[in-house]
Symmetry: C2
């Protein structure tokens, strides 16, 4: 397929779609997201986007703009610039982000850069990992009379952020990228008086072939999760109590 | 198409899929959800599931099990019973729920009833309305240095619940089914010292043809949202500040 590039000097930039890829499995993207991906001329994707997912856009030029926490934050400025440059070159540009683009995805900075350059944008939501993890473990995040509010949070790695951000006081707590930081979260929750046997579910590589589900207690979470290497989601709360004895062992 | 019913007395119940339909638009279901819907023999769906969505399963028997808040909670027991009965009759049963099935969806009760009856279950996540609303309004729910945690909550209509549940202390607050209750939420947030000009975005009928987006301030939310009639999502926080002057008017 020949790519329809914008004529040099035509002046009309392309349209950029910010699309949520979902947690990893290629069929957990939305129908709308898959349809646009199949039409994309260029796809700028995160490190968390799987190979299976990229097979939905065989026709597109693929640019990996992956960055993991720990790398310099200037990388985001470079991604913003790449997006603007791609929109000048191509008519249909996709920025494909793991999970949902509007939660923990630096979308604000990308939207701002594109808007300042006068580029048309559309956002297509994706399945955020917490909901895929709830589905995979068959544990609803809310439970009548037991869990009526849910908080999603992450740990900041930015040097100018206070490390000890207040923990949300919701019934259900979900910590994204919670591998190393979950130990500190557990310690603080215990200090706040949450019970040591509060159920915890940890999901690594959610929805992928190497998905790993671990059930433990808050007091055990305090001991750390050092053996996980992939993206880890930590879910804490009474909502994660086993429904029946057979459920507890899975 | 002839429906493959289980042989009476065959003893092997069907499989039940709890599927998230997403916010309403038929192409905001996942690829997996759409594929299973197209194979379903019977679909038990909420009142919030759109006609467009039901066109994805022309072959299926459709049973509306919709209930709106305000109806008696015994209705849920009846839905649980219907699910178990359908699994005895059909091989592929879909329980289609608006948004995501694992958040504010009474999934716990349905899972419990099905598990007790020994029925195989699979959960397919869906786009929860808050993420579709963030996409529609182009307002990320998190924002580097400004909004690092997000709470999803709803108002209880159960008679045995305390009406004045503590409001989550997250940076971004999203109240589901927030039409009538949002006024009280605003009043309490103001009393807690949140600023009167805190940005609020209200989305009615998210992702549907009659979607309505309204931008206001916390002090204005306190005056009420009486003119909305459809499902209303209320999003509150600094993350919803307009990025630029043209953005404010949309």
């Amino acid at each position: 397929m020949s790519l329809e590039r914008n004529e040099p000097g035509s002046g009309k930039p392309g349209k950029v779609y910010l699309i949520g890829a979902g947690p990893g499995a290629a069929d957990l993207i939305t129908v709308r997201g898959a349809r646009i991906l199949a039409q994309a001329e260029v796809v700028l994707h995160d490190a968390l986007v799987t190979e299976d997912m990229l097979q939905l856009c065989p026709q597109a030029v693929k640019i990996s703009v992956g960055k993991r926490s720990g790398q310099r934050s200037t990388a985001q400025t470079h991604i913003n610039q790449q997006l603007v440059e791609c929109a000048a070159q191509y008519k249909l540009v996709v920025r494909l982000k793991g999970g949902d683009p509007m939660m923990f995805g630096r979308a604000d900075e990308e939207l701002r850069a594109l808007e300042e350059a006068g580029i048309e944008i559309e956002v297509v939501p994706g399945i955020t990992t917490a909901l895929a993890a709830a589905a995979a473990t068959k544990h609803p995040l809310t439970k009548r009379g037991i869990a009526r509010s849910v908080a999603f949070f992450t740990s900041s790695t930015a040097p100018n952020q206070p490390e000890q951000m207040a923990l949300p006081d919701c019934d259900t707590l979900v910590q994204y990228m919670g591998g190393k930081e979950a130990m500190a979260t557990a310690r603080r929750l215990l200090a706040q008086g949450r019970p040591p046997d509060l159920p915890v579910v940890v999901v690594e590589n959610c929805s992928r072939s190497n998905q790993c589900i671990m059930r433990l207690k808050l007091s055990e979470l305090e001991q750390g999760l050092s053996h996980f290497t992939g993206p880890v989601l930590v879910m804490i709360g009474e909502a994660f109590a086993a429904r029946n004895p057979t459920d507890a062992g899975t």
